[in-house]
Each structure stands twice: as structure tokens, then as C-alpha cells.
């Protein structure tokens, strides 16, 4: 099995590396929303209905730090923050799309209706 290091963490497969960047419960839902236009924090909070503030801000920060989205602070009162896609983030969209389609296919096989 191949392996490599990044930030002192050991990875064994490229797939594992993908999950470390855009895996977890909320990152793909965030990217999927932000792909078309700028979204505000409160919009994302409302749209991803089961996410906590802690998880949302944590995941937004990581996606920013890893270069998938960017954050714009508009200094009005009260403050406005917008999240938009970067080019790197855009490249993830087709992957998420494939996973979504496959998810629907699996659900159909398993007799689950959405």
C-alpha cells in the first residue's frame, strides 16, 4: 500500500487524502451550495438544517484554509460575510456530482425514496 505524509499526518491512499480535504458530513453540502453564487453564513446555517454553529464555522474555516472557498467580509453594520467558490473548489464539483448520482442510484436499489 502506498503512503505519504502531509502536515505530519500519514495517508495511505489518494482517496483518503480527498476525504481529509472535503470529507465529513458538511463540507460537500457547503461546496454544493456555494458553487453557483455567494452565500452568507446565516443562509448556509438555515439551508443545512442540522448543522451546529460550531461545525459550520469549523468546516468553513477549513475549506478556506485548504483553498476550496474564499471569504469576503463586508464591513457594514451589522457585519456581512460571504463565501464564494475558488477555482480549486470548482474542480471538486464534478466529483461531488458523481457521488450524488451514485447515491441516488444506491438509494433506488435499496428502495429508498427521497
Amino acid at each position: 500500500m502506498p503512503q505519504f505524509l502531509s502536515n505530519n499526518k500519514k495517508y495511505y491512499t489518494p482517496v483518503e487524502y480527498v476525504f481529509s480535504k472535503i470529507g465529513g458530513t458538511y463540507k460537500m453540502p457547503i461546496l454544493w451550495r456555494v458553487k453557483d453564487r455567494a452565500w452568507r453564513y446565516s443562509e448556509l446555517k438555515k439551508s443545512i438544517s442540522n448543522v451546529s454553529d460550531r461545525m459550520l464555522s469549523k468546516n468553513l474555516k477549513e475549506l478556506c484554509d485548504d483553498g476550496f472557498i474564499s471569504k469576503t467580509i463586508i464591513p457594514e453594520v451589522p457585519v456581512k460575510v460571504e463565501y464564494t467558490m475558488t477555482e480549486r473548489g470548482q474542480e471538486a464539483i464534478p466529483i461531488i456530482s458523481v457521488l450524488r448520482d451514485y447515491g441516488f442510484s444506491l438509494m433506488k436499489q435499496d428502495g429508498i425514496k427521497d
Copy 2:
């Protein structure tokens, strides 16, 4: 956000459903190996070098129960067990392939050599 139930567990996205079936550290590595030929337990153990017996047997059982691979017991002494792909499992391979390619692309962007 859409949501649905399966086995009394709540899912919010199709992607989440995919991960519940073939996510985690070891399931895709297992599927990726079994795709071409039958593999024995001890072969998988050796090939996925960092997996424990607990995790390997647990993941193999779940993949069997979920219909992605099948298990053949050959009653020799000592017993021989082989794992092979089902049709359902085969359908997951292109998805894993896409994720692998994307993983290599991300690694290249991040200056990681495999």
C-alpha cells in the same frame, strides 16, 4: 435539505448515504483490490498493511451484508475463504476511480509525491 430514513438511521444527503455504505478508511481499498479477482482474507490483511483483524473482518462483513462483495467458504482443512465482487460492487468501481484520480490531482496541487 432533503432527508430520509434507512434502518432507523437518518440521512440528509445522497452523498452521506454513499459514505455510510462504502466510506470509512478501509472499504474502498478492499473493493479496489477485489475488483479483478478473488482475494483471500490473509491476502487482504497483508496488502492493506495497516488494517487490524477487527477492522478487516468488520468491514468485510458489512460489505457482504450490503451486497457489494460475496464470500465463498471452501471447506478444506484449514478452511479457505474467498471474497469476490458482486454486480453491485462493480458499479462502485468507477466512483472510486474518479475519487482516486481526483486525489492524485489534489496531491499534485499540494506538492505531494506518491
